[in-house]
Symmetry: C2
DNA sequence: GCTAGAATGCAAACTTTTATACATTTGGGT
DNA sequence: ACCCAAATGTATAAAAGTTTGCATTCTAGC
């Protein structure tokens, strides 16, 4: 799954202890949603944290006539809503379910109470947000500095690391194009260019990385700084 | 000052109590740097938080040919280094002083101790990072969706709010161009277009907003959520 | 197997952006 | 008041990206 917020950032469930996770579940309520159902709407005033338990949620903005512009997609363990809690502002995005989805909904007050009592929870939240900030900054940097094919290659590498199948990334070119803010045609050209090196293979709704280490080297040679970071995620949980 | 990380996000000093600020100062050490002096280097392993006390710091990457590519500039009250603490990775950027600069350097261990004992500190840090994430996401969204002149206008508006002088933004076109990832020429054209509306005035190393509310309306007319491009980029399921 | 819908490939005309080069303007410093 | 480096304006060719339209390929579902 292609995503700017999620990619590279660890999940809340992975970052906290089983005990703390149980506590969170105790103060929250499980909600079930059908495919396409709205979970939150832009402008909602109720602050709270949501954790995806099962399925996926789509974060974006509802356009006119049912069109939806996605900013982010989150899967199991990912959480969102921190902005309503820590910035004290209403929801900035619409959030809806992809497929049958279960989420844990935790209201602002009980969450903050636990947050104040459990440093490991704030530690985990901070870790997530620090990774998100960092990932976004780096993506933006690359957007400004790298030619499209190189940037795409780098992104594919980093996606493949958090994917279930390391060799193959499940995404169509249109979604990819939107992430990079360019047209499908441009992405197509960039992918063709990469394919010509023999390091990736463009499929139908998927992209395969045929030679991982070689592609990494190819990207590193083309980055102005040796900017490809090791993706070592050591959860500093206590 | 033009900056993606800082703009819109509150400063640490503003977010915490005087008492907590004193405690932070007690466990940190004040360091002084001359203009251009290095404060941290990419790759440094020492984790810690730094708070700018006076002057400014430049966060960026040393390019291949001795050039410095700025990612961010931070002023009094802003803090950085959370990534070294909460992601457990070495410094990802070079950081150097702009002008005579004082910073409060707090080592990882004492900071985390205070962090664990004081929920208001973690609350403040989270607030900062949540704002940063949000600001970056929105900027990225605008980059993909808005024509350059509209995006520039929106950015100028948001900059002017955190500027010392609300009517005038101190920045040259080259810096602006880098922030948007386009050439100086493109920014120049966009600014000329905006100037033609009479809502801003382009000066030498500065941009003046002549009619704040009118410019705001001008931007809103051109990027309402309801009028987003009706592209079928994202279907409800994959 | 078929088939329909989705995804991709491709080409031509086009718009936008870039790079380059140079002229002009500005404003701080001596 | 002058000088000069920095910032901006402008022009043109080249490169990159977009739009449009349609052909082709793939795959899930019957």
């Amino acid at each position: 799954m292609i995503d700017l917020l999620q990619h590279g950032s660890p999940s809340l469930i992975d970052l906290i202890s089983d005990e703390l996770w149980r506590q969170l579940q105790a103060i929250g309520t499980v909600e079930r949603y059908q495919d396409g159902q709205m979970i939150h709407m832009r402008g909602d005033e109720k602050p709270g944290i949501t954790v995806v338990l099962d399925g996926r949620v789509m974060i974006g903005l509802q356009g006119s006539e049912g069109t939806f512009l996605t900013s982010s997609v989150m899967g199991r363990g990912q959480c969102f809503g921190e902005f309503t809690l820590f910035a004290g502002l209403p929801r900035t995005h619409d959030i809806s379910a992809i497929g049958e989805t279960q989420v844990l909904q935790i209201k602002g007050k009980p969450f903050l109470a636990l947050f104040n009592a459990e440093p490991s929870l704030s530690h985990a939240l901070l870790t997530i947000n620090v990774y998100r900030t960092h990932g976004l900054l780096e993506f933006l940097d690359d957007l400004r500095r790298l030619p499209l094919p190189v940037h795409v290659a780098k992104f594919l590498l980093s996606m493949s690391e958090s994917a279930s199948n390391k060799k193959e990334i499940q995404c169509n070119q249109e979604v990819l194009a939107f992430n990079f803010g360019v047209s499908r045609i441009s992405i197509g050209k960039a992918l063709k260019k990469l394919e010509a090196t023999g390091l990736i293979e463009v499929g139908y709704g998927k992209i395969a990385i045929t030679d991982h280490p070689q592609l990494r080297r190819w990207v590193e040679q083309r980055c102005p700084v040796s900017a490809l970071r090791a993706s070592r995620v050591n959860s500093t949980s206590q």
